[in-house]
Every structure is written in C-alpha cells, then in structure tokens.
C-alpha cells in the first residue's frame, strides 16, 4: 500500500509516466472497439509496428541528410511523431483501400507489412550510431521518462480523438455496420471511413511514441476483446473496454513499480490475464456473457 500512496502522490517523480499510461489505457480501447467491429484485429497488430518503423525512418532522416544528431527531446519527439503519423496513416489507408477492392489476401498483406516493418526498424536502429543512445527507448516505449511536453501532446491528441469519436459515433457506427444503408441515406461513406482511419492512425502513433508498439497493440485490442465477452450493447462495450484498459494501465504501473519490472510487458501480461479470466468466467457463468 505504501507503493500505492507513493504513486498517487502529486510529488511522485514518475507521475507523468502514470498519467500517460492511464491516458493511453483509457483511450486506446475506444479506438480498438472499431478495429474489433470491423474485423481488423490483424491491422491492430501491424499498425503499431509500422508506426515504429515510421519513427525509425524519421529519426534516421537527419543522419541520411548529413545532420548527425542524437536529437534533443522535443525536436526528436516532434520528428518521431511526424514519421509515425505519416507511415501509420498511409499504411492504414492503403491496406483498407486494397481490402475494399477485395483482391488478394488481406491477412497476407498485413502479415508482410508487419514483418517487413519490424525488420526495417531493427536494421535502421542497428545502422544508426545514435540509435542505442537516443531512440531505442522511444521504440521500446519506455514509459519512465515522460516530459511535461510529451504528456501534454499525448493528452491533446487523445482528447481530440475521443471528442471526434463521441461526436461522430453514430455516423462511424452506421458506415461500419451497414455501408449500403449509409449510402442510401446519402452519407459520404469514404469521408467517414477516412475519418475513422485517421483517428486510428493518430491514436496508434501517439500510443507507440508514449508506450511503445507492444503495449499499444495490447491496449488497442485486449480490453476491447475482454469487454466483448460481457457487454450487452455498444455503450457497455465501449465503457467496459475503456475501464479495463485504464485500470490495467494503473495496476500494471503499480505492479511494475512494486516489483521493479518493466512497465510495458507487465501491462500486456496483466491484460492477457484479465482476458483469460474473463473468458473462463464467461464459460462458467453463461448468464454473465453477452
């Protein structure tokens, strides 16, 4: 309990890390719900990795252009955010477009994107003299060193995403559930699709920069899958997913601080445990599941 008091104290040295984890924990599942609904779970795996590759490429650009630098925290993060955004949004739009055309194997394309982006990230890291010093932490998603600026950017971006999801929930849900009906009602389905993909891209980018690709994936999908076991309607689905994500982020931080474990993997293992427990409960108590 002493550790809990420390974490909750306003003077806690790592308070920005706690706030960032919890913010990502609350917000990522709300976007993840739409990945689950649109059966884009594999996209949820690949996008954080593509985002990481975008970070690696963006941070390698100055080196390729002859500006050798280890990157100051703010300029480095701005560059990393830009790279992450560009690659994530381009990838999601391209993959969604190809899937909409209905040709080839969508899972195959997503798998190739995942494995190539993972390999390219490692290659870029290995060939950059500042990789180990400057941005290995970024790619690993070390939640320990979060500046006030990073926290502010994360807060602003996620608030914008949540506001857009809340405002346009009915349009995004309609286009996801019944595209044909949306067209007959005069909705611009391409616009709403692109908006949803932009929101997913923004969330993935900021989550990868804040907590790393592994945790971003964990928070995008596992809370949504856990919530789907018990929710009876869309409101419950989104609320439970968000609460599971936020609670797991806080508990994960607490556990990792208590036992000196890395935060990210602790969060993901905790989420996986919650999902497994939820699945068992849903099997044992049929009345509890949806």
């Amino acid at each position: 309990m002493e550790t809990l008091h420390q974490i909750l104290s306003p003077d806690f040295l790592l308070r920005n890390s706690v706030y960032t984890s919890v913010l990502v924990g609350f917000c990522c599942p709300l976007v993840g719900v739409f990945l689950v609904l649109r059966r884009l779970v594999f996209m949820g795996v690949a996008l954080p990795q593509i985002s990481s590759m975008g970070v690696a490429i963006a941070l390698s650009l100055p080196l390729w252009l002859g500006y050798l630098t280890a990157h100051g925290s703010q300029s480095g993060h701005a560059l990393a955010f830009a790279g992450s955004m560009v690659f994530t949004i381009t990838a999601i739009l391209l993959l969604a477009f190809l899937e909409r055309r209905g040709q080839g194997l969508p899972e195959g394309r997503i798998g190739v994107a995942y494995v190539v982006s993972s390999a390219l990230s490692i290659l870029l890291l290995a060939t950059n003299p500042y990789g180990e010093i400057g941005w290995l932490d970024l790619l690993k998603g070390e939640v320990i060193t979060v500046s006030n600026f990073d926290l502010m950017v994360t807060g602003i971006v996620l608030t914008l995403v949540l506001a857009a999801l809340a405002l346009f929930h009915k349009e995004i849900l309609l286009v996801s559930f019944d595209r044909a009906m949306a067209i007959t009602l005069g909705k611009n389905v391409v616009f709403w699709d692109v908006l949803l993909y932009l929101l997913i891209g923004l969330t993935v980018s900021i989550a990868v920069l804040s907590v790393g690709p592994l945790i971003a994936f964990g928070f995008l999908l596992i809370p949504a899958l856990t919530a789907h076991l018990f929710a009876h309607n869309m409101r419950q689905f989104m609320t439970i997913a968000s609460l599971v994500g936020g609670a797991a982020a806080f508990l994960g931080f607490w556990i990792s601080y208590q036992w000196d474990l890395p935060v990210g993997p602790t969060d993901v293992v905790l989420l996986g445990t919650l999902y497994a427990a939820g699945w068992i409960i849903a099997q044992l108590l049929p009345g509890a599941r949806n």
């Binding site: 609904l37 009915k170 309609l174 019944d178 044909a180 067209i183 007959t184 309607n233 869309m234 419950q236």
Partner: protein, 238 residues
Amino acid sequence: MNESLIRLDGLSIGYNGQPVLSGISLSIARGSLTAILGANGSGKSTLLKTMLGLLLPVEGHIETTAAAGKPLVFGYVPQSTQFDPVYLLTGVDVALMGTYGRVRPGRLVPPAERAFTHDCLRAVGAQEFACKRFAELSEGQKQRVLIARALTARPDVLMLDEPTAGVDHAATHAVMEFISQIRTERRITVLLVTHDFAVVSRYAEQIIWLHQGRVLQGTAKELLTPKRMAEILEMETD
C-alpha cells in the same frame, strides 16, 4: 397509379465495368408493388443495388421523378443474413439508423425521431423483441426490424432484397401482408427481389422477370399464366 416514378433507359448493369445484364428499359409506377423475379445469378440484386445507387450503371441512366424537386428517399431492406453478429446492437439501435439521414452529424437523435422509430417498430410488430440483440433474433424477426428501419427513413420507395428468404410460410405471409398494408397506408412504392412465385402471384402488381439476359416486364396476370410461363421456360430449355 400509372405515373412513372423511376425510369431505366438503355441501362447496363454489372460489376467493375463488366455488364451482367444490358439493354434494360422500363419504368416503375408510383405507388406500385413490383417484384423482380429471376433465377440465381440473373442480376436481380444487381439491378436493385444499381437503382439504389450502390452500384454505378455500366451504361445508360436512371431517371427519378421526385416530389417538389427533392431527391427520392429510399428505404432499403437488405438480406438479414449479411450482418456481422460481432456488433452489440439491439433491434432498436438498428431501427434508429433509418433516422440518421435526417439527423446531422454530431447531433443526438432527437426524442421525436426516437418516438417515430418506436412507432415503426410497433407497426411492424417488432416492439416485443426490439430490445433484444439484433444478432440473436430469428430471420423473420430481423426482417421486421429491417423493414422498420427502412420505414424510419420516411421513404418514397421501399426496396427489399429477398425479404422472405429463410422465413417460414406463416412468417412470409405475415411479412408480405404487412408490406402490402403499409404500401397502401403510406403511399409508398415497393420493389422486392424474390424467387418466390407464390409471393409474386399473390402480391405483385408488376413483375420484372430477368431471364437468360432478357428483361420481361408485365403484370402478374400477363406473365404468370401457364401458357406464358411455358413459353418463357421453353426459352430456357432451348
């Protein structure tokens, strides 16, 4: 009754620029109940989707005569089997979607629209099960919810894609009686795609029969006589 609401002029329909049916020229009368009849793969659903604007015509064009210069409002009832059960939507949630065409983005559905949706659910006899998960309803119950959703759009034209597929005889009769009734009460033009000759002969005033690349149009009395049907089916055996 004879005023033309939709006119198809030299229309070719298909996918990716490849026609599956060409040279379609016909008209749909305002207030009529028209059945689109044909074998699997004859282009029935493609024709319906083209008229709805879900597919672009390969060639030709579609003219609509809307009232007071406003575009026609379509109420679309797709096949109930096409929906993904992963969505945690109740029958009410699904029916409410029909109002989204009138509710601007970023706005909540107003109470009056919610009340109207419940009226439509009541009218189709779906009120009892409307609060249940849509995915868990029987096919007949889903059809009723989807018809209610189409009605909440306040349509000029109701387009139904095989509304009685997977529905037993009694439910088929109930659904079709209801469609006939609301057509009369709300002065709606109805187009339905079906394989069911019994439904067509009993309820349809006009028939569009798609057969081996040909489009035959006429009344049930003209097309569904034993002599005429034998002529048409002989075309198939030849």
